[in-house]
Amino acid sequence: MHDGVVFLTHRGWNSKVIESFCDWLSNTSISLTIQTVMWVIPAVQTIHILCVAIVMSCMAMMDLRLIGLAGTRRPVSAAVSRFVPWVWGALPVLLTTGVILIVGEPSRELLNPYFRFKMLFLAVVVVITFFVQRLNKRDATFWETRRILAALTGVASLLLWVGIVSAGRWIAYY
């Protein structure tokens, strides 16, 4: 298999190194605390999902506007400047809660191909969202005047977010 694909699988990407890192992490006192206090993981997962709800809804509204399916009474630039800041606000909470979940159960996530796909999709969609916002700031008519590019960007972003949520749920089934 190609190197770029191998790193997403369980066996690939220096799994020995990651395995020993997981072993070390799961024996730290903070990880042991998370493992023994029963309510930590469900509570942190709940906060994580509530932030996903904010991000997913904001991104769905923005992407559907880029595609031309929702909120068409208002310009694209208004949708971009309204919804993107919520994503930048929720992402730090998602990363913090995500890290707590990883510390609590390192091998469940770090050795999980679904988790790696989720992180790959996330990295791509963050770059896309950054450019959607930046181009909109530079020229408020940028997305308005490029209907096809806007629609393709909206579809790509929406699919990536659906992929992130789906991969996130499937982590539990690997």
């Binding site: 029963m38 993981i41 469900p42 509570a43 997962q45 709940t46 999902i49 509530l50 996903v52 709800a53 904010i54 991000v55 997913m56 809804s57 904001c58 769905a60 509204m61 929702a70 909120g71 009474r73 309204r82 659906v162 949520v165 789906s166 749920r169 499937w170 539990a172 089934y173």
Partner: protein, 163 residues
């Protein structure tokens, strides 16, 4: 009792037993349930935050209501159908599950709150296009909605950690 018998019948239907026996059906339906749920909660929260005068302040409540709620209702239908399918896979187990029962009660309360707002508060305030003063009843409906939905999500997640 009728409900336990209904649960026993439901989980032995072709649908219920296929979902229970399959390795991929349950996670797939659950993924659809989660995707629909995050859209329901996120979109209704947009309206709730508008009612609390925290977000969307440059637009009328009527406009936010018209833009957001169709997506909420469509997603809710999907979430409810997917949720019913998940329930059918082990109906008896869920019926006896405490977080599941709390979740159903909270959903009922969410529904009462929404009906109260849609039938009572909203029709009386929607006539003025620019609501400079949001009635207290609307603010309460928004706050109650946010709190109950957080409870629904928490109970939903909690179900996964119980037997």
């Amino acid at each position: 009792m009728v409900i336990p018998e209904f649960c026993a019948w439901l989980e032995n239907t072709a649908v219920g037993s296929s979902i229970r026996q399959s390795t991929w059906l349950f996670p797939t339906i659950e993924t659809i349930h989660v995707l629909a749920t995050v859209i329901v909660v996120g979109s209704v929260t947009m309206l709730d935050l508008r009612l609390l005068n925290i977000a969307y302040r440059d637009r009328s409540i009527r406009e936010v209501h018209e833009d957001v709620l169709p997506w909420t209702w469509t997603s809710f239908a999907v979430a409810a159908i997917a949720g019913s399918l998940l329930f059918s896979s082990s109906a008896t187990k869920y019926y006896h599950n405490v977080p599941f029962r709390i979740k159903m009660v909270l959903l009922l309360l969410v529904g009462i709150n929404a009906a109260f707002f849609e039938r009572g508060t909203y029709p009386r305030m929607a006539n003025s296009d620019r609501e400079s003063r949001i009635p207290r009843a609307a603010k309460i409906a928004g706050a109650v909605g946010i709190v109950f939905w957080i409870g629904v999500v928490a109970c939903g997640r909690w179900i996964g950690f119980t037997k």
